[in-house]
Symmetry: C2
Subunit: 206 residues, 2 copies
């Protein structure tokens, strides 16, 4: 009977659990939430960590302004409500990736503690890893690869995080990754080492 | 110099391209967009196809009402604008999954041709596979596993697709999967066979 067969109940192929996907991948899905000032090195660390994991045969993916702001969140502006919705959607998408088994690095300033905490609440314990990419304003302003700090100082960019808008550093991040006075390789080794130590790079069933 | 090292330019670990992730997975990322009436069998086929792929050591994931409507799209209702935004966001998320290398099955009625076509436009050729899950209203109404058709006939659900709101069947879907008079196994074999034939289940570099 087609009608019975067309419900989940009589399908004997079984359904797939997150652990089954993780077994295929040999890793645990996770959201590695990088937060820090503009030019703190979030994207650099995210992209390099992704490369390191893929080199090891793991599946990692970076969510950043490039692939989110111009796509999913292109209908959001920079009002307080829109910034909060921006982070909320990124959190929900990261949760989907985590459930799929992917290790996803999110690379967004995400300056407000409340927004980040709301994202954390979406996740099961251990699925969400908050990483503070630690470089102070002076350091970031000195780097200023896109000239944004200069524009912010000139008043051309209103409410620029660290200059004219607050950055609320995490109080209890899972990990702090400094990017001042250390090489990218060192920063990435710290992050990937953490993931390895916590068991993210091995299949949940061993 | 920390400032130079903190830009992408001097990172020698290399960046990762989609093809690198696909090589790790041994598959091509894709969005398999299932469209059809309520109770046509979309979720059954999606879940069973996911199980079949994971059994084969591939990475597949299902986006459906359960994990999208209560998360990413929980702030959307059922007005025409919200329905369009619902499908748009799902399309953007599916695109991210596709870019990550995952084969993602989306299981949503998505009754409007214009909405589906807009999603298709987001993708590169070959990344988007529209699959019409073909069961007519009479068949779906006979199945009615959640009693929704009954409620719709009683006027308790306004604008119910197929009863009081239109369903615009795809004109040129990549694939038509019937679910009437065939077993779930047969429907899934048709879908997975298509993916195999088109090279989605092999690494892009062979």
């Amino acid at each position: 009977m087609a009608e019975a067969k067309a419900t989940n109940i009589t399908w004997h192929g079984g359904t797939v659990a997150r652990a089954d996907r993780e077994k295929v991948l040999g890793q645990r899905g996770a959201t590695i939430w990088l937060t820090g000032l503009s030019a703190s090195g979030k994207s650099t660390v995210a992209v390099a960590a992704e490369a390191e994991l893929v080199k090891r045969g793991r599946l990692a993916y970076v969510l950043d302004g490039d692939n989110v702001r111009h796509g999913l969140n292109k209908n959001l502006g920079f009002s307080p409500e829109d910034r909060t919705e921006n982070i909320r959607r990124i959190g929900e998408v990261a949760k989907l990736f985590t459930d799929s088994g992917v290790i996803v690095f999110t690379s967004f300033i995400s300056p407000y503690r409340a927004d980040r905490d709301q994202v954390r609440e979406l996740f099961e314990d251990g699925d969400f890893v908050e990483v503070f990419i630690d470089a102070d304003v002076a350091t970031c302003e000195e780097r200023d690869p896109k000239g944004l700090y200069k524009k912010a100082r000139a008043g051309e960019i209103p409410e620029f995080t660290g200059i004219s808008a607050p950055y609320e550093a995490p109080e209890k991040p899972e990990l702090v990754v400094p990017t001042k006075g250390v090489s990218v390789e060192e920063s990435v080794a710290l992050l990937v080492g953490y993931l390895e130590e916590k068991g993210f790079l091995a299949s949940p069933q061993g």
